[in-house]
């Protein structure tokens, strides 16, 4: 009885918040409703006795994925009016497709039936009351499904490669340090101790002195402000000048359309 009430509460809130994800005017609110939906899904998992899945859902989706969603959505300058321009035009089609799908699914589920001989089909994991489902999941995941597990790891690796290859840029203004070199430095190398006469100021001694190599020493060669960077910058300037003289060279690799 109690479980049923809790189930319906979780389910109702889940459906409502999922609807609000789509309907909310403000995308930040949408993401927050999405998080609420995740929570309720986790609650449903708990009711089903899958406590490991419930916690993993919260940790992975709410704790990491949705944070990044929120991160991005908050930083985007979304123009709502522009986003909603097409809604009026495409709403009927979308509603029609959704409606057809809904009717089909209702038809499918009202006559739901499992295979007649389901008892004869071999299933991998016999359920056992003495094992927690965390242990059971681990047993299956790392033995029977090790191939799939490792392939999923490759999928994630590819996603990581993609994120790097599509977004990482060498910024010409980036200042990067060689951390080991920076740690190795001692004050005697990088600081110059001056005896300043009382009341005379430091202007006479050339103002505040800073050893001119102090940045170069710890910087990654080629990053902003280093010798190598200056040399490259000078070379690039020469090249730019050449392009100005012969504009026919143009940009490479562009389509002509």
């Amino acid at each position: 009885m109690m479980t049923q009430i809790v189930f319906y509460v979780f389910a109702a809130v889940l459906v409502l918040s999922a609807t609000m994800v789509v309907c909310a005017r403000n995308p930040v609110h949408s993401v927050l409703f999405l998080i609420l939906a995740f929570f309720n899904a986790a609650g449903l998992f708990l009711i089903a006795g899958a406590e490991f899945l419930a916690m993993t859902l919260v940790i992975v989706y709410v704790g990491a994925v949705a944070v990044l969603f929120l991160f991005v959505v908050m930083m985007l300058d979304v123009r709502f009016a522009q986003m909603r321009e097409g809604v009026q035009r495409y709403a009927p089609i979308g509603a029609a497709v959704g409606g057809v799908l809904l009717v089909e699914l209702i038809m499918a589920f009202t006559h739901w039936r499992v295979a007649g001989n389901i008892g004869q089909i071999t299933h991998l994991v016999p359920s056992s009351p003495t094992r927690t489902n965390t242990a059971a999941l681990g047993d299956v995941l790392y033995t029977h499904y090790i191939f799939l597990f490792q392939t999923c790891a490759l999928v994630l690796l590819v996603a990581m490669i993609g994120a790097i290859v599509l977004t990482l840029r060498d910024r010409p203004t980036g200042r990067r340090q060689n951390i080991d070199r920076q740690h190795d430095r001692i004050p005697q190398e990088s600081l110059e101790m001056l005896q300043v006469p009382l009341g005379a100021g430091v202007a006479a001694q050339g103002g505040f002195l800073r050893p001119h190599d102090s940045y170069d020493v710890a910087a990654v060669p080629g990053t902003y402000g280093t010798e190598a960077w200056r040399a490259r910058e000078a070379a690039e300037q020469t090249q730019t000048a050449l392009v100005v003289i012969t504009p026919a060279q143009g940009a490479k690799g562009q389509d002509d359309e």
Binding site: E51, F52, M55, G63, V67, L70, M74, T130, A135
Partner: protein, 340 residues
């Protein structure tokens, strides 16, 4: 009496409420005095006196602060998202409270002794970022927003190494239940065989609670207080309480995962006279002292250094250690069976 509490619905609910109060009241009192302790300890380290006006040695300072905070006016900036603006501090505060449901203060002595306790803790601590992110965004202020973003990136980064550290502890225990984790340390606390992980976890806990030297989200010198720059009065107080309660929580996690929870250092006579909960409290207080000590000692990290430490040092290191300890347990046959 026992019948009432264990066999009627109202009694059961009442029992839960009483249990919660038994944890929350000392916790809140502890939080109030932690703020005072921090000021006193830091003052001592910096050869000052610290608060000493309200009551003897300033012991009433915490209450003076509370009254001040409660009686001030709540200012909501124009253009702020009111609902979220007020929701954020409540979220931060209540998350820091609900996590205590699973912390065992003695053998089997937790409000909820659940099978996946450590995952529950990880989940709750990973939610902490929302309070800050929402506060930063809803304030409609650049400084607050920058603070919120910094915090989000920082906490998500350090959660990864926290997770790996926890996994290497779990490998040695063979259960996700916090009670089992403590009991597995009967012979030796995990802080000895896993000393590097203990250090990694503690430093990550500093980053996770936005404490110095990782307090960039509130960096007062460049962000004038970061994500809660627009908060005042009660809402500010809730943030404040939430932050310190989080410190308690992290100290509790450190104590349970590495310092043997409620167990005495040695299972012999003079130590076993002291009841378990007091041991746990003592360990938590020790961790809190280190939190404050670190704050008084180290300068703030630069943002790129913070990220480098999290991703390029802690993550590979804890991953390598996890693989190493798994291999070690496998080879020596110490790996606990997956019964838990």
């Amino acid at each position: 009496m026992a019948d009432f509490f264990f066999h009627t619905v109202i009694g059961q609910i009442l029992l839960i409420v009483l249990e919660s109060l038994a944890v929350l009241v000392p916790l809140l009192l502890g939080v109030a005095y932690l703020t005072l302790a921090e000021r006193k300890v830091m003052a001592a380290m910096q050869l000052r006196k610290g608060p000493n006006v309200n009551g003897p040695f300033g012991v009433l300072q915490a209450f003076a602060d509370a009254i001040k905070m409660l009686t001030k006016e709540t200012v909501i900036p124009s253009g702020a998202n009111r609902m979220l603006f007020l929701f954020a501090p409540f979220l931060t505060f209540s998350l820091a409270m609900v996590a205590w449901a699973v912390i065992p203060t003695g053998n089997g002595l937790a409000i909820a002794n659940i099978n996946v306790g450590v995952l529950y803790l990880l989940a709750i601590s990973s939610l902490g970022v929302y309070g800050i992110l929402i506060a930063g965004w809803a304030s409609n202020s650049k400084y607050a927003f920058l603070g919120g973003l910094r915090s989000a990136a920082q906490m998500v980064s350090y959660e990864v190494s926290i997770g790996l550290v926890i996994v290497s502890v779990l490998l040695a225990v063979g259960s996700l239940n916090l009670n089992d984790i403590v009991l597995a340390q009967r012979h030796v606390w995990f802080c000895l065989p896993m000393f590097p992980m203990f250090i990694v976890f503690f430093i990550s806990a500093l980053a996770e609670t936005n404490r110095a030297p990782f307090d960039l989200p509130e960096g007062e010198s460049e962000l004038v207080a970061g994500f809660f720059v627009e908060y005042s009065a009660l809402a500010f107080g809730l943030f404040f309480l939430g932050e310190y309660a989080n410190m308690f929580l992290m100290s509790g996690m450190v104590s349970i995962l590495f310092l043997g929870g409620w167990l005495p250092p040695l299972g012999i006579a003079p130590f076993t006279w002291i009841p378990g909960p007091l041991w746990l409290i003592a360990k938590i207080l020790f961790c809190l002292f280190v939190f404050i000590w670190v704050r008084a000692t180290f300068p703030r990290y630069r943002y790129d250094q913070l990220m480098r430490l999290g991703w390029k040092v802690f993550l590979p290191f804890s991953l390598a250690w996890m693989v190493l300890s798994a291999g070690f347990l496998m080879v020596t046959g110490l790996l606990p069976g997956g019964a838990g």
